[in-house]
């Protein structure tokens, strides 16, 4: 496997010269980048090798299913998570396959998920405007259903905006890299300091991270102060 020490870095390209389509074993497919997997799927289809598509689709879908599902769990009721995620993945793969996706497959899939979640809450808020909640019918056995179990999407969107804004406010590229590696990435403070290098210490990493999260908190508070206006 290629070294994936940097979470946001691309997978190493595999140098396979194929004059014609050749089926690859699962292990090799796992080493391909998302875009290479999409190319592989197109080539398999065009060669009429439909069975060869199955493991490639499995690698791609398995690779993102959990991240998409857990993002959806943050914002959707449990009983709708799987459906929204399934539809998101199908749309993302189809549009990437057709060449109509924008940018990298990973970010495209997450963009689609964010849109689907927003659509879900839009539809729900329209419905809630005209439909009483089950708790308003307590005692009436025939009226049942589920109360909203997750925060309103508008709040989650605001929090996401705060995270992005605080990141963009960091003027120093190395500080952004610390946030990428330590806050959003899988690395410890010591590993982050080593990866950023150039005098960055573990204590610096904690300091930068704390300042960043404090700034996000301030932005969230500002939003809360004006929440009545939102």
């Amino acid at each position: 496997m290629p070294d994936l020490s940097c979470q946001t870095g691309p997978r190493a390209p595999t140098f396979i010269s194929l004059a014609e389509f050749r089926e690859l074993p699962e292990q090799r497919l796992n080493e391909l980048s998302d875009e290479q997997l999409i190319d592989y799927l197109r080539a398999a289809r065009e060669a009429g090798r439909h069975a060869a598509m199955k493991p490639a689709v499995a690698v791609l879908v398995f690779g993102y299913h959990d991240t998409l599902r857990n993002r959806a769990r943050l914002k959707l009721p449990d009983h709708d998570v799987e459906d929204v995620v399934a539809e998101t993945i199908a749309s993302a793969v189809a549009s990437a396959f057709g060449g109509s996706s924008i940018g990298e497959f990973r970010s495209w899939a997450h963009t689609i998920l964010s849109r689907r979640i927003a659509d879900y809450h839009d539809a729900r808020s329209r419905s809630l405007n005209t439909t009483a909640l089950p708790s308003e019918h307590q005692g009436e056995d025939e009226v049942w259903g589920q109360e909203p179990g997750v925060p309103f999407e508008g709040d989650a969107q605001h929090a996401r905006d705060c995270v992005r804004l605080a990141y963009e406010e960091l003027e120093n590229d190395r500080h952004q890299r610390v946030i990428d590696l330590y806050v959003f990435g899988p690395h410890s403070a010591a590993q982050t300091a080593e990866l950023v290098g150039d005098g960055m210490s573990e204590a610096n990493v904690h300091q930068i991270s704390s300042r960043y999260q404090k700034r996000v908190n301030e932005l969230l508070d500002e939003g809360s102060d004006t929440s009545g206006e939102r």
């Binding site: 998302d34 769990r73 943050l74 996000v216």
Partner: protein, 212 residues
């Protein structure tokens, strides 16, 4: 280290080493603005997370297997995203396939040929029935059952042609030839093939777009 930092760190560690890590129990340990902050940070972390390495055993036990099956049938089939979309739509509508078929047959006035309708609907879900042969009448009826418009179903059934090959250094799968269209994609016709007698149900599912 603040509570939020600690919880984020715990979540990342659990996610990195586990098969699937639900973030909600972690959120439940925070409150107020801290909870909002933690949710946003976990969201940002997941959005940037790399593709998981494939694990055949975990895949088979995961809901991802069913999703992948639908996607694979869609990409290999003759009717776009229907194999991925139609089962999801009937799940959302809380309907079993037999119930969809019964309602579809009733709306098409083909109750006496429910088995035949079932066969065609099965082919739609399996990617075996070309979208171009399915009439608007069928899609309008199906849309009313599963809560989609006929137009949206039509568009979903139109398989995007494979996009242009990449020209950058990462493109490794040279495509040297185009094969024929997907199975039966060109076979949809407004008329029955020679030697085959079509009835109204055949025409509705294979005869093309014009409404009956």
């Amino acid at each position: 280290m603040t509570d939020v930092e600690r919880l984020l760190s715990e979540y990342k560690e659990a996610y990195r080493t586990g098969d699937d890590t639900d973030p909600r129990p972690y959120l439940a340990r925070a409150s107020g603005v801290d909870r909002e902050l933690l949710a946003a940070l976990i969201d940002a972390y997941l959005e940037r997370a790399p593709r998981r390495d494939f694990d055949a055993e975990a895949f088979q036990a995961s809901p991802a297997a069913a999703v992948a099956e639908g996607v694979q049938r869609s990409l290999a089939g003759a009717n776009g995203m229907w194999p991925a979309l139609l089962p999801a739509l009937r799940t959302q509508a809380r309907l079993r396939r037999a119930e969809v078929v019964a309602q579809l047959a009733a709306r098409l006035g083909a109750q006496s040929q429910q088995d035949k309708v079932a066969g065609y609907y099965h082919q739609m879900e399996q990617g075996l029935l070309p979208e171009s042969g399915v009439s608007d009448t069928v899609l309008e009826a199906l849309g009313k059952i599963v809560g989609w418009t006929a137009d949206a179903l039509r568009k979903a059934g139109q398989m995007p042609a494979p996009g242009p090959p990449r020209t950058d250094a990462g493109a490794v799968f040279a495509r040297t030839h185009l094969t024929a269209a997907p199975p039966d994609a060109e076979a949809s016709a407004a008329e029955a093939p020679a030697g085959e007698e079509w009835d109204e149900v055949d025409r509705l599912f294979r005869g093309g777009r014009p409404s009956a």
